[in-house]
Amino acid sequence: MKISLKAIAYTLVVAALFLVGAGIKFTQRLSTPTNTTTEQRALFQELVVQAESIEPTVAPTNSILPSETAQPGDPVDPGKDLKRGSLLNTASIQPFIKPDQEQVVNDARVSISTITREDTRAFVNLCMELAGNQEKLDFGTLYIDYPGGRTDSFFVHEAEGINTNERCLTLEFVGIPTDTPSQNWKLTMEWLGFAVPDEGTECSAYLRRAAARDLFKQQGIQFTCDSVSGQPEIRITKKPDALMEAQAAEIINRTVNGIITGPWVFNPVLK
């Protein structure tokens, strides 16, 4: 079939017009921010001028020496120790210590490595895995009991796992007196769950997780989810008559947050 030059030319013109229209729309979206206030922008310009001439007076230290005022036997304030910043970069801990203890509770496998002590810190690698799970896992209520105290304050660093399905973290517990004996420690995690969804994806994640656990089929519960002032807002649309609103809400919360009750309790090896 012969195609005339005229027809080709007209086709190209049509295509060009389409792209021009789309391009104009795209440019408009880029240059028209939504929900802004002139006042906030003016405030921020002033702030930039101030910030450029100011240096913060407190800089975190990476020193591995004990804090200046601490003496052997003194209790260490976990909060104040936290303000010294993470010491992971200067610690002698290996980049990844293979977990050597594991427990399975409610189908969730948690493993931990030997605990490395340095300064007022205790470093441990902790890995979590849930059979058949596709969601990213996250730690729950977690603490170390040691002779004379407990610490539930820690820095969180991502770590490489051995298995593709597991999530591993290097946890840097703080506030442990340097003369604490290295025997009879206990590490406890009371529950674990799904990682918080990235900003703006909460509702889609919640609905996906509810569907994966067959929430309606198993429990007779349905809900809607909307983003309100940046936070996901859940509204129950269907529930069994025998279930109170608060009970249904609790079931939904546990489902969309992936809560798995433990505890996983370890008597770790220290070095």
């Binding site: 049509v14 921020f44 702030l47 930039v48 910030a51 539930d152 900003e199």
Partner: protein, 160 residues
């Protein structure tokens, strides 16, 4: 024939103009215009300075190079529901001049999070040094988190 092509051309232009742009191509805001807004998925968030847990509050400094903004996410890691609040503090000698803060409207479930409005700058992420602060409690808290000296507060991160 010419009329047909002209009609098609007009329709093509209008179609291209009226079709919604996908979020892949345009962030919700950029730099200064992000200040005070809550980040959405177009901002493609990543970690800021080192996250930490303090008294059951998991505090994560967050940032977006796409939106050129910083904010803080705070997750309730207690075993039961808690009031949960966060502040992104910036400006002044001790980061105490300005803040973007949020608090849950009541107790929120374990493993749920709140995140503060953004602090943006046309120069990019980290041009304005900020600290991210967070706390969970059994009762409503006063904002901003981190009190009068966020640089020293145990509830606040390192600057980033």
């Amino acid at each position: 024939m010419l009329c047909v092509f002209r009609l098609i051309g007009c329709l093509a232009f209008l179609t291209g103009y009226l079709l919604p742009s996908t979020s892949v191509f345009a962030a919700m805001c950029s730099g200064n215009s992000c200040t005070g807004l809550f980040a959405d998925s177009t901002c493609t968030a990543s970690a800021g300075s080192t996250a930490f847990t303090i008294y059951s509050a998991y505090v994560e400094p967050r940032q977006s190079t796409v939106c050129m903004a910083q904010w803080t996410r705070v997750t309730n890691k207690a075993s039961s529901a808690r009031w949960t609040a966060g502040s992104t503090r910036y400006g002044g000698l001790y980061y105490n001049s300005y803040h973007q803060s949020v608090q849950s409207s009541g107790e929120i479930a374990t493993n749920q999070a709140v995140y503060t409005p953004m602090v943006g700058n046309d120069g990019g992420v980290g041009v304005i040094s900020a600290v991210g602060c967070g706390e969970v409690n059994t009762s409503q808290m006063m904002l901003p988190i981190g009190s009068t000296r966020p640089d020293l507060s145990v509830y606040c991160s390192d600057a980033w």
